[in-house]
Amino acid sequence: MFRYIVRRLLQMVLTFFGATFIVYALMFANQTDPIQALAGERPITDSQRQVLTERYHLDEPFIKQYWYYMKALLTGDFGTSLTNRKIADMLEQAWPVTLRLAILAIVIASTVAILAGVISGIRRGGAFDNVTLLVTLVMLALPIVVLAPLAQLVFGIQLGWFPPTAGGDASLYELLLPALVLGSLVVATELRVTRSSVAENLRADYVRTARAKGLTGKRVIGVHVLRNSLIPVITLIGVDIGNLMSGAIVTEGVFNIPGVGFNLFRGINTEDGPLVVGFVSVLVIVFLVVNLIVDLLYAALDPRIRYE
């Protein structure tokens, strides 16, 4: 187990540097004239140009610029955005609302997915199962750009059940509609995996043994089947974090929530390179750490899996 963790950590370090390098290169390599882009339309004097070149190491080779950036990043200095705000401060302001939104979305999605998944897994081929399969198919096919504006239109504006937008210090109720939209991105996958793993486990020998011992159906399903069926569902959460991040960009934009995705989206449109790279680097770290935790959790939950 220890060796597995070490190997997994080394792999994570490699992935982290690779991924941030790709993003850094995409954002900064072969820029036509970053200084002019910073100044906009205004003319720029030679001395200003020189100061900026030195501050951003623009006269040095690209790989060295990346090195300086990573050195600063790893010592906790995320740099400043082109609007001269500290990226660390912006992150600090943005993440609480995004975190609340994401947690709410995950809780809603997994509750629905596990309940419905277990029921349709037990009654495989029944009416409920067929309906859920159809519904999840439709949900998988609904891109977030369709779902978010339509949900806002129908539930926020026409029916008026929820406030159509949520601000920075939104209450849970205000965040409910965006969270439902975000959660629906992952609920279909989780439901289908729960369903197929429950259906598979029901045929396992240990279930027959439990039944033969005379245990009630409730206990067989609730303890024996459920525990084993949830293992693949938990590993899905790692993948889901990536989906939620992508979804958050659109959802936060549509519902006007000033979270991480909202800031990132604005940074991309204003060509704010340092902001984009800073935010994306943090998101990549979150993504990798969550995936690592999930992998380790997988080993802890399922003693059959041995890592060497």
């Binding site: 891109p143 977030i144 504006p149 289908r192 990536g242 991040m245 993504f287």
Partner: protein
């Protein structure tokens, strides 16, 4: 990586071990190829036919939009702003006074072309990566697999936004080329992994050993023996990827980094009409419906094909 690919991956992980059970053997009276068997199964599948009809209509829409009786999608007049349906403009007019029906019909072409070419690009990259990693193994496999890990470590939409923005920063450029390249270069990882594992499974089969003993070189072994026998799961992943790519194109266009300028795209239509939903909902609703139907069609197609190739899930 998208949620839909995750379904395939997750379901595949629990159920894609080929297991010729006794039932399967007795059911077959004469030997059939896997593809032939899958085709017979597909013909009986209602979902497959529903998806196929939808795809056919959409392809027709993309190829000859004129036959759907739509007017000129670029004929806009502010005097008709948010006007109701009239003449051939069945869905009314949008904020700029453009015919929503015409724009929705003409929007199919960009979506389908981009989806198709991006998937093709991803497919070629995935084939090369998966085949060489799986066939040669060793350090090449380690290198390629780590590279796949790195690309998978990037959250898909984030990387796509950055790349698409970079490839087409000129606001007058339509962005079609940039979006195709972006999606093609980022979406291949799952397909490459699937290809790699099925190549590894089939390269140790007896018929490959036999062909090798007969003196076949690596190129012939791969093209004649390994690829045809490991391509099924790969094609399923690509079909689903096609739907995902169409959805992602719309998302990128919605965010303003996809199609731009005077290109017609469902994503742009959704973006442009969403500020005015309180006064006119139709310009938002119709492109959304068509986009959802298109993605649904390709995902249903992929689902049906997977079920046909993977008898264990039945």
């Amino acid at each position: 990586m998208s949620d839909i690919e995750a379904v395939t991956a997750a379901e595949g992980a629990t159920g894609r071990t080929p297991e010729p059970g006794p039932a399967a053997e007795s059911r077959r009276d004469k030997p059939r190829s896997l593809a032939g068997d899958a085709w017979i199964d597909l013909r009986r599948n209602k979902i497959f036919w529903a998806a196929a009809v939808l795809v056919a209509v959409l392809v027709l829409m993309a190829a000859v939009p004129g036959v759907f009786g739509a007017g000129d999608p670029r004929d806009c007049a502010l005097s008709r702003q948010h006007a109701g349906p009239s003449g051939s403009a069945f869905f009314g007019y949008d904020f700029q006074g453009c015919d929503v029906y015409a724009r929705t019909i003409y929007g199919a072409r960009n979506s389908i072309l981009i989806g198709l070419f991006a998937t093709l690009t991803s497919g070629i990259i995935a084939l090369i990566f998966g085949l060489s990693a799986g066939y040669f193994g060793g350090w090449l496999d380690a290198l390629l697999s780590r590279f796949i890990d790195i690309v998978l470590g990037l959250p898909f939409l984030l990387a796509a936004i950055v790349l698409a923005r970079r490839l087409s920063s000129d606001p007058n450029d339509s962005g079609i080329w940039a979006v195709t390249v972006t999606l093609g270069f980022l979406g291949w990882t799952t397909a490459a992994r699937v290809m790699r594992s099925s190549v590894i499974a089939s390269k140790n089969q007896d018929y490959v050993a036999a062909a090798r003993m007969l003196g076949a070189g690596p190129a012939r072994l791969m093209m004649r023996h390994i690829v045809p026998n490991s391509v099924a799961a790969f094609i399923v992943v690509l079909t689903i990827l096609l739907g995902v790519n169409i959805a992602t194109e719309a998302t990128l266009s919605f965010l303003g980094v996809g199609l731009k300028g005077d290109a017609i795209s469902w994503g742009i239509m959704i973006n442009e009409s969403s500020p005015y939903v309180r006064t006119a909902a139709a310009p938002l609703v119709w492109p959304s419906v068509f986009l959802a139907l298109t993605v649904l069609a390709f995902i249903m197609l992929g689902d049906a094909v997977r079920d046909a190739f993977d008898p264990k899930l039945r």
